[in-house]
Symmetry: C2
């Protein structure tokens, strides 16, 4: 594995592996080289660390050892909904219930090798939970910066891991840049959505997809997009596997955004090369709160990934998302968060437009479990009431009806 970071766009290279962004403004990633790497026969059961050639030379304990190695399952009852042949890579089966654990496993362990007092992050959702949990399990302090209006239900999920939670007054969207400064000024390592060490962790999801499907290969991979970090990781994985000769034709990457905040879709449709931040008035409310970033730091990289793989970006409404979430549960047996339902809604749109054929194999990537938001008791449920003594007869008529 490499030790320098590089820009995917201008190819500038940096020996400082804490540097997040290139002089050209684009986010960096690690310059790993997998030349000569073959699809391994599965090795020991230590999560994503089995891809040792492509990861830093760490053997972390705690939940870092448990991140990744999520199942890929064939989900035939979703085919009819999606309009193609569906596999699901269930990223909800990570230690804190989201793909963020792949990034935290690599990034928090990596940060610990340096002379710092704490790790930190800017998030009020899955990334905050994941970073705080990985810090707790490795015994280092964690600082989480959240907006002042973060709901208590979300804070409760973060607070269980006992980080220092700071509600920041002022424009939360500007914190990304503030924090890049803080990383230089203070003995703290803020691990943002597109920290290279995170991307390094994310790419292992792509490796696992190919390993699980071998000798078959997917025609396309569909995932939610917000900051563009996960899409970057998947693309990085594709490139490393192409370089190693494991992948010949890359899978098309399809990114799906919430229509309430979809800067990458807009840039894609307008045939632009760069993703621009949305103005405040162009941003709406959405149930898919995990993917509402109007100013995605890796947006342009994600858009480039789509263009270079021949994919597309599309947006789905909250109504589409809610329907897809129900279909994931009722036809797939999977409880996914709203943001994670977007790939199913998006692929349905793309197949009906003819961008994906019905005989093609598409991997959906639901990025996080829905259990964190379920069980609040706010939903009305239909049940039947039967007496125990009459159970047999009444059940028989219920079954035959």
């Amino acid at each position: 594995m490499g030790t320098s970071t590089v820009c995917y766009r201008c190819n500038r290279r940096y020996q400082d592996d804490n540097q997040v962004r290139c002089e050209c403004g684009e986010p960096l990633w690690f310059d790993d080289d997998l030349a000569g790497f073959d699809l391994p026969s599965p090795r020991e059961m230590n999560g994503l660390w089995r891809y040792a050639e492509a990861l830093p030379d760490l053997r972390p304990e705690g939940i870092a050892a448990a991140a990744g190695r999520t199942p890929l399952l064939r989900s035939p009852r979703l085919d009819q909904v999606a309009g193609c042949r569906v596999y699901v890579k269930d990223e909800g089966e990570n230690p804190t219930g989201s793909y963020k654990d792949r990034g935290s496993a690599v990034a928090v362990s990596h940060a610990l090798q340096q002379d710092i007092d704490a790790v930190g992050t800017v998030s009020y959702g899955n990334m905050a939970m994941s970073t705080a949990a990985h810090a707790a399990s490795l015994g280092i302090d964690c600082v989480v910066l959240v907006p002042t209006d973060t709901p208590t239900s979300r804070l409760e999920l973060i607070a269980q891991y006992d980080p220092t939670i700071i509600q920041v007054e002022g424009e939360y969207g500007k914190l990304y840049d503030d924090v890049l400064d803080l990383n230089r000024e203070l003995p703290i390592s803020f691990l943002l959505s597109d920290a290279p060490a995170r991307i390094r962790g994310y790419k292992t999801a792509l490796f696992e997809i190919y390993e699980a499907l071998a000798p078959d290969t997917p025609d396309a991979i569909a995932l939610p997009a917000s900051s563009g970090g996960f899409a970057s990781g998947i693309w990085r994985g594709i490139l490393e596997f192409q370089n190693a000769g494991v992948i010949d034709t890359p899978p098309r990457l399809y990114l799906v955004q919430t229509a309430a905040s979809d800067p990458i879709t807009r840039a894609y449709i307008a045939d632009q090369d760069e993703v621009s931040a949305l103005e405040a008035e162009a941003v709406g409310e959405t149930i898919a709160h995990s993917i509402g970033n109007p100013n995605p730091p890796s947006g342009t990289r994600a858009l480039t990934a789509v263009r270079q793989t021949g994919g597309a970006v599309c947006s789905v409404t909250d109504a589409d998302i809610r329907q897809a979430q129900r279909q994931f549960a009722r036809r797939g047996g999977l409880c996914v968060e709203p943001a994670s339902a977007t790939p199913l809604a998006g692929v349905r749109q793309l197949t009906s437009r003819g961008e994906i054929d019905e005989d093609e194999t598409v991997v959906l990537l639901p990025t996080g479990t829905g259990f964190k938001e379920m069980g609040t008791g706010g939903v009305s449920i239909q049940t039947n009431t039967l007496s125990r003594s009459a159970l047999s007869s009444q059940l028989a008529s219920l079954l035959s009806s």
Copy 2:
């Protein structure tokens, strides 16, 4: 793998693989034979089905393919709490967030091979969610029998998978026997906590522990106990591995119950051979609602497993459980449900009593994720509020304090 069921106690054998209990009253399990089986080098990534020699000859799709293969992680920051060397097998990382998926994966797939209209279960918790989800993903109807006082928050989790939910009036505890009759009378297969096909799935957790630790071996395994089904599965796995020559000295099994309903602990302490149902007045309220069964159908089998492996059974209070749950999160980075926190509380008790030595290796088995009950907003959270402009200076003083 075998095709007959057998009683662990009296060795009676049955060719009817739907039979749940022996004439002697004890629950049956499958008579699989792993003679000649070696610890495999990991094979393809298809969950528990990799142990094909020990499972029915099925290749199910849907979430059945994703059950099992949970991570085993070394958790050094829990050593100090537990008083020994701790590994954690995180069963929360299953498709519906609990070990029940191992049982449902095998049992629902198995039921589908028969001429039935539906599968069913008697549960208002993890087993109901798991059975309903597996049925949904395989496209068969599911009937869930719940008590009339089941909270809406729990029903919401079950209902998402769209089973027929029946609230049963009358003594819920007697349903176990009613349902054994229904299985004979109606074209429905009720998969109870100790259905042999479930136990067959549960044993794979033991196989995975040994595979992940090899060439090391655990001195003990600690898990929550309620119906005794999971303990039976773990023991069955031990026996099959002993028979195959993979295990020489079996690990001691430690079962932990909630003090509010602990019939197995009482039988253990009283040096009895059988577990008796608790009278209603001996049963209290507990936060560990997943393990409150006062009349465990596999209780005696579980007790026998403890005796034959040289382990113990102990009980922990709700206060112990709440503390252990916090320690799992703050020192382990793991969000576990109250029932799943009991192994940590129990092992702490056992080490302080001298039953487990500090240099021994103990695997804790938290059986289900805590995310299903989190995020309700009912907890008060401590946060700090800082302004964005003063973040650098204030964060510096916060870090140094």
